[in-house]
Amino acid sequence: MTQSANPAPPRADVHHLLGHPSDLRGHVETHGPLNVALSRDSSWRESLASSLEASGLTGRGGGGFPAAAKVALARSAGSGGTVIVNAMEGEPASDKDKLLLTRAPHLVLDGAQYLAALCRADRIVVCVPTGRDAIAAAVTNAIGERVAHGYARASEEVVRPPDRFIAGEESALTNWLESGRSLPVFRADKGTPLRLGRRPVLLHNTETLAHVALIARHGPGPFRSRGMTEEPGTCLVTISGSVAHPGVVEVDRGTPLSSIAARANPVEPVQGLLVGGYGGTWVGPDHFETPYASLSLRTIGAAAGVGVIVALGQTCCGVAESARVARYLADQGAGQCGPCAYGLPAIADDLALLARGQANGNILAQLQRRLRAVNGRGACRHPDGAVSMVQSALVVFAADIAAHSRGEPCPYSRRPTVLAFPRPIGL
């Protein structure tokens, strides 16, 4: 299922993530050695920090936070910390991190090394979920190559947190490293830096680090020359759903949604695109030309999220598929916070009734009330994502929802799902 849809051979001066050699020798031949300065060289650090800032790189793991700002926060928290490579990719519809770690692990690890040097962190921890042994093996292999050649500065290791959606959430991952419990931590002030014990933590998504590695070597120029001025660079998007060639593509930031979806060859006209992941937003045909960039997406109430676009064809049922996603998200919560632990299953139940055409007249009002009640009341943003997915579904599939709530489900509501789930989701 996972394939790179990048047809042309890569050019050295153009910023791109896919198509690089995956072994250490090829990596060094293409990119040169890891030019990380000795610990006392502060001018190198400042130069790297300003390159990152000038590049305008934002996090590719869902937050979209400027990478330079996150790094500055971690730097201010002291030395001796840890760089965490978030390779959890809990999103079932996402494959980009998988791809990067098997095809270009050295890029990712180099990115972590640059940031470790910048923040004076002394170790790098790559988090790959249990069960994904092929990926863990690829990374371990790459680390082995680096150790054998004395290539890297900070120590690198792979750890295996549990394979659950919530386990990839920032605070849950840090909490797991600290206490073995994969549970998000409530932070009243989200600006406080994450910590492991007393040491600071810099946590970044796999893809973000790959970009960092290239920016550190070639400066911000090549990155900025792609994408939009307000939102530069490239990003990886996994396309799935009613498409003939699902997979991961690398696109310039700001490419219209429809162009991205087209690269996977939809099998029929598309009635909706789920953008940003299962906790993202449905986008209707009116907005298919929206550029894939945070600012533009925000104007239609969406966000780039974790680099996922799911195309829903005409002969699918938006209500049923949304109901399945809602059920999946409800099952994947940590169970710590009442509104999420009780609210998401209740919302999933309402949607399931709607999908089966068994709903009574009050269900839409009840659903809206529950969505408002659950939003923002968890320790993490898991419930917010579920709410945003459902609220956008109510808008994009409004006609279908109306029919279902009258007890007239569409003919497609019983067809098998076109979405990916780790285990079958019953309706």
């Binding site: 549990p162 659950r164 919530i166 419990r181 994969s182 549970l183 059920r327 409800a330 099952d331 919560g333 940590a334 169970g335 710590q336 009442g338 632990a341 009780y342 299953p345 209740a346 999933a348 139940d349």
Partner: protein
């Protein structure tokens, strides 16, 4: 002071302290089990529990002070807090000292609650569950009045009330307000809520 007055005061205040401790236990079990008396807000129930426990401490203080001041039998301040240090009825008085120590720990930790981590306070509070049966054993083991019918009846009522409250409390966790979530998460995730709600059900 007349030894007889001290002696009667000790016994009376001891019985009263035991009753108050029993009521405290029942209220405590009811509060965490989310019992709701009609017209009574939950925070008032909790306040009642706190105040009755403070009254129990007052009567306990009277009980302890009068028993030490009474020179008819020698107990001494040391034996009040250090178990099994009393020359008089070493074992049963010792049990009393243990019960007192536990209650003192709960009392002091509650005063300092704002400064303790929530887990620490709760852990110490659990000691209260230990102090009640030990206090009961101390009362009946010492034997002063324990052959009297009314005292035996009283003991039976205390045991019955706490027993019933305990059974009710253990049962009530499964009837928590709200819908139960539709799946139980993996064993690797430790969530307090799930631990309590799915007691006995394997994850």
């Amino acid at each position: 002071m007349n030894s007889t007055y001290l002696w009667y005061s000790t016994r009376t205040s001891g019985i009263v302290a035991l009753i108050l401790l029993t009521v405290t236990m029942v209220l405590g079990l009811a509060t965490t089990g989310r019992a709701r008396a009609r017209g009574w807000p939950g925070f008032a129930q909790q306040e009642l529990h706190r105040r009755i426990s403070m009254m129990a401490v007052v009567f306990l203080a009277i009980h302890v002070i009068t028993s030490v001041l009474d020179t008819y039998v020698h107990i001494g301040w040391f034996a009040v807090v250090v178990p099994f240090a009393s020359p008089y009825s070493r074992f049963w008085v010792g049990l009393g000292a243990i019960a007192l120590d536990l209650m003192l720990a709960v009392f002091v930790s509650s005063l300092l609650r704002a400064r303790l981590k929530p887990g620490t306070w709760r852990g110490i509070h659990w000691l209260a569950y230990g102090s009640w049966p030990i206090a009961l054993a101390h009362t009946y083991g010492l034997g002063t009045d324990s052959r009297e019918h009314w005292v035996i009846m009283l003991g039976a009522v205390c045991v019955l009330s706490v027993g019933l409250a305990l059974i009710w409390r253990l049962n009530s966790t499964s009837k928590r307000r709200g819908m139960l979530p539709s799946t139980v998460p993996d064993a690797v995730l430790v969530s307090r809520r799930y631990e309590r709600e799915h007691e006995g059900r394997s994850a």
